[in-house]
């Protein structure tokens, strides 16, 4: 078969494709937030609040989607398409019906195919706007959160265990190795109230001086706060799970630039110092007097030897 090599014409596109390509070590997942044919007022707020919490790496669709039913056969096609299109591997899907009011389906995809699903109902919802607190405490966009899971259910009940994992994956944000301790400003609190009900709140963090290195922590509820009532859930297939859990044991070695190793002298580094640009630096203020001086100097030169130019021509 005759084949043709197709490469992007522009560097921007090439870089975008490279960003989407599978990586040895992944840095974080993007979230797609969307809803079905019908949503309630509550659900609209829940979805927009989740979008606000995850602003740094999420995408919100505002149109109705009539053919998305994640749990049904064939109802995931459209979802998988959107996942591939937006390069999102987490999704939050809201729908509202008589049978399942205020329904929230959270799930993950692997290679843009649905990996697992958790369905919860939202009750006792309190939006972010309804909380009043010192606005200085407002968590920053994209900051790394703390998580607290309270209750035996998160270990013993299969559904809750699954929910815990999905919530952690959904809200943990970027995967980092180096953490700035000054940037810690939010906590997610999940508490099991009954085997089917989980309390979920979002709090800001106050770091108070305690006299030791470790500051005293104080939580201030900033919302959203809601009860998640478990409905349906679907665990990943065992073989798929095994494949998705694979990690690269050997981390990719980044090429060390400008460093050489010499047997005699040891490690030698090359340092590039950028041009100082002395001539281009603007003076603090341009005095008019300076200009006048220059003008006068010019005149002086002309008057001293008025036929300088001619002379020059002669010499040439």
């Amino acid at each position: 078969m005759l084949m043709k090599i197709k490469t992007p014409q522009k560097g921007r596109i090439r870089r975008a494709l490279e960003k989407r390509a599978p990586k040895l070590v992944e840095s974080g997942k993007k979230t797609l937030i969307l809803h079905g044919m019908k949503t309630s007022n509550v659900l609209n707020q829940v979805l927009s609040d989740i979008y606000h919490l995850k602003r740094a790496n999420s995408m919100k669709y505002t149109r109705k989607n009539d053919n998305i039913r994640p749990f049904e056969n064939g109802g995931e096609t459209s979802l998988e398409f959107f996942s591939a299109k937006t390069d999102c591997s987490l999704f939050v899907f809201g729908s509202h019906s008589k049978k399942r009011p205020n329904n929230l389906v959270m799930g993950r995809t692997y290679d843009h195919h649905v990996y697992d699903l958790v369905e919860v109902g939202v009750e006792n919802y309190k939006s972010m706007d309804s909380f009043s607190y010192d606005k200085k405490l407002t968590p920053h966009v994209g900051s790394k959160p703390f998580f607290t899971f309270i209750g035996e259910g998160f270990e013993s009940v299969q559904e809750l265990k699954h929910l815990k994992e999905v919530l952690l994956d959904l809200f943990r944000g970027e995967i980092v190795t180096n953490l700035n301790l000054a940037g810690l400003d939010r906590v997610y609190v999940c508490t099991v109230v009954s085997p089917t009900r989980v309390l979920f709140t979002h709090c800001a963090l106050k770091l108070k001086k305690s006299g030791t290195i470790v500051p005293r922590m104080e939580l201030v509820e900033v919302g959203p706060s809601m009860d998640l009532v478990l409905r349906r859930h679907r665990l990943p297939e065992e073989s798929l799970r095994k494949e998705a859990m694979k990690t690269s044991l050997d981390k990719p070695k980044k090429k060390e630039k400008n460093v050489k190793k010499d047997p005699v002298e040891g490690k030698i580094g090359k340092i590039y110092i950028p041009d100082q640009k002395v001539g281009e630096v603007a003076l603090p203020h341009k005095a008019k007097g300076v200009k006048r001086e220059r003008r006068e100097a010019k005149l002086k030169v002309k008057s001293d030897n008025p036929d300088e130019k001619k002379q020059k021509m002669d010499t040439e």
């Binding site: 090599i5 040895l24 995809t109 290679d111 607290t148 309270i150 953490l179 301790l181 500051p215 939580l219």
Partner: protein
């Protein structure tokens, strides 16, 4: 007091702390009493959450840190809760043909300078690209050799050779890419057009129906009436259906010159064709010869009797029969 702190310590030890994800999990906590309202249970859980967060902070702030203008930086330990990947692990690319060959021969990569000293001009020049050293295109004279054939243009030959080398390299590259595609390790920015798939999915792009094709289909539908679409009302903008067959020309039957004689010529042509094709059938030579042979056969059999029936297969007759057959068929084709 002491017992309280002891119990607290015990509690802290019971927490599951995953520093990599900043997660604390207390599987042993029970609400002291069934909460009267939601607010109460929220408050209680917040109180306990504070303890848990404090427990994370205790271990987090005690990690060795680096001072940074933005704040102390801490290196987190690897996460203990395993979460699934979003995309499969990238596969290593298979070695190219050259790499295999180099490995076998022990050839090692050598770094070459980007610029080379050109002795002809006495300048430093690029090794490759524009204005390069030993540029093939810049050679004004090629010395003739004894082996050169007269009439051959050595400059043209150089160009052809270069083109061939480039083509060969392109072929090799394609082979290596195909191999990589088979192993599923094609570089993300390269697509092989025959397998023009989106990067991570498996759908093919739906083909766009062209305007002509649509018109054709509409025309077919229009002719699907008893009248062949003759009396159908045309929609605004709809074109008259294209007549796909040839128009038949009826020639004048009355004899004359010019156009009028064409009819006669045409019919004669057809007739001649027909007659010449089957002319050998007027006297079927093959059949006649066969009949003659059969008659002869019968005569002989009657004379010699039953014991010689096997003589039928004697080689005498066979070549004769064959020649007649072959000859006749050949005749038929030649006409």
């Amino acid at each position: 007091m002491d017992s309280e702190t002891m119990s607290e310590l015990q509690e802290v030890l019971n927490y599951d702390i995953d520093l990599g994800n900043l997660v604390a999990f207390d599987p042993h906590y029970h609400f002291t009493s069934p909460a009267a309202s939601r607010e109460e249970s929220v408050n209680e859980s917040l109180q306990h959450a504070t303890k848990l967060v404090q427990a994370i902070a205790d271990s987090l702030f005690n990690l060795p840190s680096i001072e940074d203008p933005d704040g102390p930086l801490v290196k987190l330990p690897p996460a203990t809760t395993k979460l699934p990947r979003e995309k499969p692990l990238p596969k290593p690319a298979p070695p190219t043909k050259w790499e295999v060959f180099a490995q076998k021969k022990g050839i090692q990569k050598k770094k070459k300078d980007k610029v080379v000293f050109d002795e002809e001009t006495g300048k430093w020049k690029r090794r490759h690209g524009y204005d390069r050293v030993n540029d093939d295109n810049d050679i004004p004279i090629i010395e003739a050799k004894m082996t050169d054939e007269p009439g051959d243009d050595p400059f043209a030959k150089r160009k052809v050779d270069k083109k061939k080398r480039v083509e060969k390299q392109e072929k090799n590259r394609m082979h290596n890419l195909k191999q990589a595609a088979k192993a599923g390790s094609l570089p993300s920015h390269i697509q092989l057009a025959a397998a023009s798939l989106p990067i991570t999915g498996t759908q093919t792009a739906p083909r766009k129906v062209s305007k002509d094709e649509l018109q054709h289909v509409a025309g077919m539908a229009a002719t699907a009436t008893a009248s062949g679409g003759k009396f159908d009302k045309k929609l605004p903008g709809e074109k008259q259906l294209k007549h796909e067959k040839k128009y038949r020309k009826y020639l004048p039957v009355v004899e004359g010159t010019g156009m009028a004689s064409l009819e006669r010529q045409q019919t004669e042509k057809v007739l001649n064709k027909l007659i010449s094709k089957n002319s050998h059938e007027l006297v079927n030579v093959e059949k006649a010869v066969n009949m003659y042979n059969v008659k002869e056969d019968k005569k002989r059999r009657n004379q010699k009797g039953k014991s010689f029936t096997s003589n039928k297969l004697t080689p005498n007759k066979k070549p004769f029969k064959k020649t007649t057959k072959g000859g006749s068929s050949h005749k038929g084709n030649s006409h």
